[in-house]
């Protein structure tokens, strides 16, 4: 009997899963012809290629410790701001039936509220060309509402800005169900060394069959500047393999008369691997008159 029991214990230990760790990331690289105000060149671009670890560990009933360590690396030349790897979203948190509380470096709630509608995210046509508020803040304490809230996700982040001593905050409220996504977000004093900064953002998208339509509006103000802008995007999943997408945005938040237009298509080999082609035009009344035409490939793992 003792031998049998011992065997079961050994069997149990032998097959015990390792600590819950998921390695994830993506490699996204493109070859593009860039025409930046008449200066033409061929560029190999790494588009926010990254690698990360995430997971959870149950420490009691309905209590999870969650974590994420994510780093960006440049596939094109191995140089990301002078380093091989740079820090992206990194946090440690605790999750209960009442929500999640986490601390670390993390995209602000206002930034993540628009992740669904930016179809050329991390590319030349990224929404950051026209909108402010695409911030990944350091020293963040963030609360996220629990899963039991169903289609509603509320977030509130407090940023202890240790550089300028002006603490900031960011909040969002999102509804996501049956193809409809709506979000409202606001933040204050998130940007470094800028006083009186406030950003408001409204986001919406609707997916009907193979078509997704999205839009966003933003208002931004600070001590010396203010502006607003809008953004619209459309995606058509022509087949399981082929995707057509386009987006346009216009604002005077960053520069007077800034416009960004992108059009492109994806071919999906499977859910993890795609190749894509794109054209992006970024222009404004003052400094930019840029065109980009490129082809690339992405693997998610």
């Amino acid at each position: 009997m003792r031998q049998w029991f011992g065997g079961l214990v050994a069997l149990s230990v032998l097959a015990q899963p390792a600590v819950a760790v998921t390695l994830y990331g993506k490699a996204n690289v493109s070859l593009q012809q860039a025409d930046e105000a008449g200066d033409r060149e061929i560029e190999l671009q790494s588009n926010s290629s990254r690698i990360g670890l995430m997971g959870d560990n149950a420490i009691a009933e309905d209590v999870l410790v969650i974590y994420r360590f994510e780093y960006e690396t440049s596939i094109d030349d191995g140089d990301k701001d002078g380093q091989t790897l740079t820090q992206r979203n990194i946090y440690l948190g605790i999750q209960t039936n009442y929500g999640t509380l986490m601390g670390g470096v993390y995209d602000s709630p206002l930034k993540t509220s628009a992740s669904k509608v930016d179809l050329f995210n991390d590319m030349e046509g990224d929404i950051r060309n026209i909108f402010a508020g695409e911030n990944r803040s350091k020293n963040v304490v963030q609360y996220v509402s629990p899963k039991s809230w169903g289609p509603i996700t509320a977030k509130a982040a407090y940023v202890t800005k240790e550089t300028d001593g002006i603490d900031g905050w960011s909040t969002s409220l999102a509804y996501n169900q049956d193809g409809l996504y709506l979000a409202a977000a606001m933040d204050s004093n998130i940007e470094e060394n800028i006083t009186g900064q406030k950003t408001w953002r409204m986001v919406g998208s609707y997916t009907l069959g193979a078509v997704m339509l999205g839009g966003a509006w933003e208002k931004y103000e600070q001590q010396d500047n203010e502006g607003n802008g809008y953004f619209a995007s459309a995606q058509w999943n022509i087949t399981d393999k082929w995707v057509f997408k386009t987006q346009y945005g216009e604002s005077d938040i960053k520069v007077e008369g800034r416009e960004s237009f992108s059009i492109g298509g994806d071919y999906k080999f499977d859910k993890r691997t795609r190749t894509f082609v794109y054209y992006t035009r970024n222009q404004d009344d003052i400094s930019r008159d840029d065109d980009y035409l490129g082809v690339g490939m992405e693997l998610k793992f």
């Binding site: 069997l11 994830y24 997971g55 009933e61 309905d62 994510e70 669904k116 996700t153 998610k300």
Partner: protein, 150 residues
């Protein structure tokens, strides 16, 4: 970074060959998409990526396999049979995902037995021992030890 057109296209082609080694299908969205979603922290526990993509390839290194086995992923709630395995000196152990009900556990048992039979083919898989384990959420995991016989 400036490159000649041909050199750049060559790099893209080499990259494509590399990435195709890890491309597999499944039902859960890729982990990098899930973790970037607005409600990511509430979805971390939804999908099990332990046997997916690069994670599957790394896990299989421990069992002496070189390639990840293509397999659809399922959510933890579905509790379908996604056994994780580790070879012993004489046999090998397969385990189910934690199951919340008897039907799920039985279905997963069938999946585990199928995988063991496939591994031992053309021989037979003999169940030498079995054990049950309950986690802190009250879900039950089945562990089976197999031996292959010709």
């Amino acid at each position: 970074m400036r490159l000649s057109k041909f050199r750049g296209l060559g790099l893209i082609a080499v990259y494509g060959l590399f990435v195709s080694a890890f491309a597999i299908g499944g039902e859960c969205e890729p982990a990098v998409d899930m973790i970037d979603s607005n409600d990511a922290v509430n979805r971390i526990a939804d999908c099990d990526y332990r046997d997916e993509g690069l994670n599957g390839w790394l896990a299989n290194l421990g069992s002496g396999k070189d390639e990840p086995k293509p397999k659809s992923s399922v959510t933890k709630q579905e509790n379908a049979a996604i056994p994780t395995s580790r070879s012993t000196a004489e046999g090998f152990v397969l385990r189910t995902q934690p199951a919340a009900d008897a039907l799920s556990l039985l279905q997963q048992r069938f999946g585990v037995i199928q995988q063991a039979a496939e591994r031992c083919a053309p021989g037979v898989a003999e169940v030498s021992r079995q054990a049950y384990q309950m986690d802190e959420r009250g879900n039950t995991t089945l562990l089976l030890e197999f031996y292959c016989h010709s």
